[in-house]
Amino acid sequence: MMQKMYDWVDERLNITPMWRDLADHEVPEHVNPAHHFSAFVYCFGGLTFFITVIQILSGMFLSMYYVPDIMNAYESVKYLQTEVAFGVIVRGMHHWGASLVIVMMFLHTLRVFFTGSYKKPRELNWVVGMLIFFVMLGLGFTGYLLPWDQTAYFATVVGVQIAESVPIIGPYLKYLLTGGDIFGALTLARFFAIHVFFLPAALLGLLAAHFIMIRVQGVSGPL
């Protein structure tokens, strides 16, 4: 059945070369943990991506119950966490995943740094990697406000004041982030929009660029 359906599509669209290109791509010996166990450090990039996928999926499902409104945000999180079956698990995946993705990204960056993989011709991918890093920090910062509890609120007050301390543009930055004079309804609404639309879109674009460059340039050579 499956084979027949596959053949039917393949006959018309010739899809075999597309995945064959990936499947037949040889993994060099020096990045294969089966050859040298220490090569597991090359897994951190993939693990970062794996957790990013978990973040995106769990975030999509959380937003089925979450509402970004100051009267209801906390209540909706409490509801999904206490009344909805497995809600506590899905929120847990997103909550712990948010920290774990930073850890994985950090380990991946260490690997790139100590193997010197940022050197010519891969400078651009280091730059894209740094952009991904800042987008991730932005996701963590904006997401943290969403439960709208005491920790969330005051962590964001402090975070925005740090932004305000930037010379010259600081006050504008603060106003842009809060969306008004106080930390309130407007702040929560824009943090939500940034968290679920703007930054994930930027992240996907950057990840695509990151992976295409890796494919074009190949993994950097052995030490």
């Binding site: 978990i54 999926l57 769990s58 499902f61 089925m64 119950y65 209801n72 209540e75 909706s76 409490k78 509801y79 999904l80 909805v84 079956a85 497995f86 809600g87 698990i89 899905v90 995946m93």
Partner: protein
Amino acid sequence: MSKKEISRRTFLNYALMGTGGFLAAGMITPMVRMAIDPILKPKASGSEVAVGSVDDFGPEPKKVDFKINVVDGWHKAESTNVAWVRKLEDGSILALSPICKHLGCTVNFNDPSGKPNEYFCPCHEGRYAINGEVILNTPPTASLDMYKVTVKEGKVFLGEKEKNPRGGVKG
């Protein structure tokens, strides 16, 4: 007995698909279970609301508004329900829901645009007889739902909606 050999390629394929499937299932199961929770949750049984005493009602359907508590996720609110209540020939109480069984508009008794002694739906001219029986060859496919009626110490209490067992009538 000869053992069937499996090739290295097949074995690796299975191992890979098994591991991948396990990882994917571990990720997806909680999320899907969370998403479909509303259809698996047991329905909260509604409370019964007093709408008057038995003597308030006669053979002529009377419209009553009554408040019910609605639990909508984290949001709790009062909402108003409507019932058309009448006393049947045997003295029992019939309380009909005015929600049309065609596509859910609100019906009205003795509506100026309808016929006398009938419920009339303004949306597609659905009609029902006095006990909610759908008039055949009008759009609705079932008779008007009824509220569960309990009479305690002369007072009428309305509960959940139930199907009206009365069939359609010619009109």
